[in-house]
């Protein structure tokens, strides 16, 4: 692993922690988008351009727009109710302990695991992967979209009436 990858992974973790600890929801949404940007850069450098493009366009792009749209709707109410944030301060401490433990324990584990790596089957053209190899998964994604729509339709009417 070179310094570029290390830097990217550290940036991903730091931005993710910032997204959780940020005081404002807007800042959280922006940090989450930056996490996606860092992850998509990692995908690019690991030779997975299609995954990187999807991560960048859907997670960093579309979902961030949705988040910012939703945040702009609720910002006024949020500022009226200050939140107790003491519990979030433990997060960096927990992460630091985890990082130190991982520094000692994980390298030998990954060294052993990497000796087992076999080339994955499939891959190649995105069209081939989606339509020929992963067709059931695509059907699953359609189901997931339908489920998402019905979740909103199921949860919202009750709340609106109240």
């Amino acid at each position: 692993m070179n310094y570029y990858h290390t830097l990217l992974l550290c940036a991903t973790v730091a931005l993710a922690v910032w997204a959780v600890m940020a005081r404002g929801l807007l800042l959280s949404a922006v940090m989450l988008a930056l996490v996606s940007v860092a992850v998509s850069l990692a995908f690019f450098s690991y030779g997975a351009p299609w995954a990187a493009v999807f991560e960048l366009s859907v997670c960093a792009g579309l979902i961030t727009v949705l988040f910012i749209g939703a945040v702009s709707l609720i910002r006024r109410e949020e500022s009226a109710k200050p939140e107790n944030r003491a519990r979030f301060h433990a997060l960096p401490l927990v992460l630091a302990i985890f990082a130190i433990a991982s520094w000692f324990a994980l390298p030998p584990f990954f060294a052993e695991l990497s000796s087992w790596i076999r080339p994955g089957t499939g891959g190649g053209q995105i069209g081939l992967a989606l339509w020929d190899l992963r067709r059931p998964d695509l059907l699953g994604q359609v189901l997931m979209l339908a489920a998402g729509v019905f979740v909103i339709k199921s949860v919202l009417p009750g709340r609106t009436q109240k």
Partner: protein
């Protein structure tokens, strides 16, 4: 993916998409569409599995591995009972009625996807769809308890998904493929299994959390108690079995624990199964709320399935699959009956109930059938599945496990007899004095399921012949 069963995934999905448009302004049409879709599917499945020629041929004509067809039938049967019950139970002015039925149909499609998947990634995607629909179904009842249950489900279910995804990543790295067949071939080879077993262990942990096995059972009682009554039956009857327990059983059959190649994982699974049996049964003894007691009973019964899956011998896997099917039948009856009691009296607090047998004889006696089957009283279906599991343990030389499993079966009988005495028998309470039996359509699903419990028990030789055929196909 088993393409022969693809229609059972696509048709409920199609109905789920049609309902919001077709039933706009005609809410009853949502009930009809959902019920007709599931009934048609169920009749079709029964025809596939129970044609006289198929039975006469020892079920050899059954397509696929037999397990998928059996579980899709169980999914459709439980979902049909739930939607039929809901059609009369759900109040007329419910604001999200169409979305409620669509969610149930999407969850049926997702469960069909889970049991027909042929690789772990496809399995994961459908399990995620199931998690999303379950979360929404639990929160259909937007009382504080319903929301608490939904949040607890969310908080435990999504870390479980992360573990499954981690396990999938390790498997992909080490196997180069995620298909069941490849794993099967790999485990049959002489290659040391270390990293593959590690990946499988991560996935197994995720599935165990989703199953609600002790000590990961915290979300189960709150979700079942807080959810809308028919939703509890749907969740306890089939959803948790498919989203967690089925995956554990499937992995157990793939990893060939009985060959000694994943001995540690096998021993851990069996221990967790035993802990779950004990924790669930002992906690159920102390409950005063009917639905909560049923939830703890579920945890205990799932323990039997996990124990058998951990053992992994052909006889144990037959017992595990049969107990999974049985659990779907008797738990659906008990949860639907608890919903009927709640509708008739307005409470599920067992201290306020008593003597309900006079007011609700049908509900009372279908409960007796279901609870006797759960406790393993012959000749009901639960007796045979527990007998198979205990025999498999004894045969494998695990006599201590067998004795403990048998012992907790009597504890199951004890808490259910206590429940029956508190709710249905004994002195007539004020609640019972004002209550009357629920209408025939609300009773019909419980009667149908009770008939299935009796039939599965009395026709056990045929059931065993099917399960033997299935075991021959799923175990290398």
């Amino acid at each position: 993916m088993d393409k022969g069963l693809l229609a059972y995934l696509l048709i409920p999905l199609f109905s789920a998409l049609v309902i919001p448009f077709a039933a706009r302004g005609r809410e009853k049409l949502a009930d009809i569409l959902a019920n007709v879709t599931l009934l048609a599917g169920l009749v079709n499945l029964l025809w596939l599995a129970l044609r006289p020629s198929v039975i006469a041929g020892g079920f050899e004509e059954i397509p696929g591995d037999g397990l998928s067809l059996l579980l899709v039938t169980a999914i459709y049967l439980v979902a049909f009972c739930v939607t039929f019950f809901s059609a009369w139970f759900v109040p007329a002015g419910m604001p999200n009625r169409r979305a409620y039925y669509s969610l149930i149909l999407v969850s049926v499609a997702a469960m069909t996807g889970v049991v027909t998947a042929a690789d772990f990634f496809t399995l994961y995607i459908y399990i995620e769809v199931l998690a999303v629909t379950s979360f929404a179904l639990i929160s259909t009842d937007d009382s504080p308890k319903g929301l608490e249950g939904a949040l607890k489900y969310f908080l435990l279910s999504f870390p479980a998904s992360a573990l499954i995804l981690g396990g999938i990543a390790v498997l992909m790295m080490t196997l180069g493929s995620l298909s069941y067949d490849n794993l099967h071939i790999f485990m049959s080879s002489d290659v040391p299994a270390g990293p593959v077993v590690f990946g499988a262990a991560l996935m197994m942990l995720g599935f165990l959390i989703k199953s609600g096995v002790a000590p990961f059972h915290m979300w189960t009682p709150d979700a079942y108690q807080g959810a809308y009554a028919p939703v509890s039956a749907h969740l306890a009857g089939i959803v948790t079995k498919i989203s967690g327990v089925y995956a554990v059983v499937r992995m157990a059959s793939l990893l060939r624990f009985f060959d000694g190649r994943a001995q540690g994982l096998s021993a851990l699974l069996m221990l967790l199964g035993l802990v779950s049996i004990a924790v669930g049964a002992l906690a159920a003894l102390r409950q005063t709320d009917l639905k909560r007691m049923l939830a703890f009973s579920s945890i205990s019964q799932i323990g039997y399935i996990i124990l058998a899956a951990g053992l992994g011998t052909p006889l144990a896997l037959i017992g595990a699959v049969f107990h999974l099917i049985n659990h779907a039948t008797f738990k659906t009856v008990l949860f639907l009956n608890s919903a009927s009691v709640e509708k008739a009296t307005g409470t599920t607090d067992m201290d306020k109930l008593g003597g309900m047998e006079h007011a609700m004889p049908w509900t009372s006696w279908t409960s007796v059938i279901a609870l006797f089957s759960t406790a393993g009283v012959p000749p009901l279906s639960g007796f045979w599945s527990k007998l198979l599991i205990i025999l498999a343990l004894w045969e494998a030389g695990l006599k201590g496990y067998a004795v403990i499993a048998l012992l907790f079966s009597t504890v199951t009988l004890a808490y259910f007899v206590m429940m029956q005495r508190k709710v249905f028998f004994g002195k007539k309470s004020d609640a019972a004095a004002a209550a009357t039996e629920v209408s025939a359509p609300l009773l019909a699903p419980a009667v149908l399921m009770s008939a299935a419990i009796v039939a599965l028990g009395l026709l056990f030789p045929y059931v065993f012949s099917y399960l033997k055929m299935m075991a021959g196909r799923i175990i290398l």
